[in-house]
Amino acid sequence: MQETVIRSADADAASRVVVHLNNVAIAYRLKDGGSYEAVAPATLSISEGEFVSIVGPTGCGKSTLLNAAAGLTTPSSGRVEIFGRRLDGLNGAAGYLFQEDALMPWKTAIDNVAIGLEVAGAPRRQALSTARALLDRVGLRGFADRYPHQLSGGQRKRVGLAQVLARQPKILLMDEPFGPLDAQTRILMGDLLLNLWQQDRKALLFVTHDLEEAIALSDRVVVMSSGPSSRLIGDFRIDLPRPRHIADIRVEPSFHALHREIWNTLKTEVQKAYELGEGKDL
């Protein structure tokens, strides 16, 4: 797929854009016949090797937008383009790390990692050895034969990460993957992710509600407004040097300047979402 794009006329520009959301809007049909627009037409491009985060208040539709890029949700208008081709069905070039536990509880850690390779036709032996190497890389040597319920939340996330990386996807999509973890584990997982990503720099779209996490990890932070009809309201370049260590980078003065700048945009939206939520609950 990639090669055809490179050979096309506007090769230079097209080869760099991996994911292009072109005026993508997402609406749900309601029972009373009306429709609810979760995401207003949004345009966003992610280039090769770029780490992009989407931040926004809870319930703003960031995950919905991510699901559109994965092909798990079909846009009500606009189009999703992957390597310049319109996405139809699931995005086979993408690996998706879910917020919730998505491991198969009846498979051991190593089988969970190997399964993506096995269903793609790899011989079991080879799949297992690749999986074992990946478990080593995410720091789970010796945990290969554990079942998910015998692992901690952070360890399960590591298995999930290995599972996604096993298929060597060209695009990585992550939906608040470290959301359920405690603060220390999140920092460790963030460092692990940066470390792994640094090695082959795939296009990565990362959804989070944690602005600090977004800045520490990303090349670009995109801010989304509160729902309904959420829009992209800010696009900030994070030019902090790499390689980064999350705990260290968070005390840098440039980090704070960026944080202040983005937070100014995000703040009003968070307040809006909060007030809206208060009203809804009553």
């Binding site: 998706y96 998505a102 198969m104 498979k107 269903v119």
Partner: protein
């Protein structure tokens, strides 16, 4: 509580029960002992009869027949339940159309089917197997159906993103999920297979444990009835323990499985 203490308390309950039974049937506390023994027998008589029966070959033949019927009822009922449960869970229209009929048949007390099955399949083992199948089938069917339906949508999405096609989803996601639900009802379904066999024998047969109990009842042989029940109870406990062992082997992946089986 430690195991030894638990076991000794459990034995104590049995000893106390037997003692009360013995005292009430051999002393004139509640009335004439001979009359009491006619209605309730005595623990020693029952145990003696058990021992005598187990020495002979007759009871083993009956037991073998009952267990054969149980095994066949379980295998056929579970097989059918898995197949139809899977099929219905994947075909929503089919499930919706048949839902009221499934419910109606399941609501029917199975005992009323026994004479019909005797008529259709004769007095041999197959009428008992049929009765057991009608019990086992529905338990397994509902559990497998639920197991397929209740697969976590996140696990399903993840499996799809990992590149699984429909056939691979069946094998790696739906099937293990359905099996885990089925195994969690294994105790119930195996128990019901046995119930089907014994009830069927009781209502019309020429062999089996249910038949021996019914024969003893026919001649007011209370000791015979009780000894038959005792043998049946021991068999049920043994079969149930076997199921627990099997379950522990097959569901190692399930959270809380180890502690749950330990408590049993």
């Amino acid at each position: 509580m430690n195991r030894a203490r638990l076991l000794s308390l459990q034995v104590l309950v049995a000893v106390l029960g037997l003692a009360v039974w013995h005292v009430l049937t051999t002393t004139p506390l509640l009335g004439d002992p001979r009359k009491m023994q006619f209605f309730f027998s005595t623990p020693f008589d029952v145990l003696a009869r058990c021992a005598r029966d187990l020495e002979g070959s007759e009871i083993w033949r009956h037991l073998a027949i009952t267990l054969t019927e149980t095994g066949l009822a379980f295998v056929i009922g579970a097989g059918g339940g898995i197949l139809i449960g899977f099929w219905f869970a994947r075909q929503e229209l089919l499930a919706a159309v048949f839902a009221p009929y499934v419910k109606a048949i399941n609501a029917l007390p199975r005992v009323v089917l026994a004479p019909i099955f005797a008529l259709w399949f004769g007095l041999g083992i197959w009428s008992k197997v049929a009765l057991g199948v009608t019990l086992v089938f529905f338990i397994v069917f509902f559990n497998v159906y639920q197991g397929v339906k209740e697969v976590s949508p996140v696990i399903l999405s993840n499996a799809r993103m990992l590149g699984m096609n429909e056939r691979q989803l069946m094998r790696h996601v739906y099937w293990p999920s359905a099996l885990s639900w089925m195994f969690s009802s294994l105790h119930t379904s195996v128990g019901f297979a046995l119930v089907g066999a014994v009830v069927g024998e009781y209502l019309g047969a020429s062999a089996g444990l249910g038949y021996t109990i019914q024969q003893a009842e026919g001649v007011f042989d209370v000791t015979g009835v009780f000894s038959g029940m005792l043998i049946l109870a021991v068999v049920v406990v043994l079969v149930d323990n076997l199921v627990t062992l099997l379950e522990r082997r097959l569901l190692v992946w399930r959270p809380g499985q180890a502690t749950e089986t330990a408590r049993r």
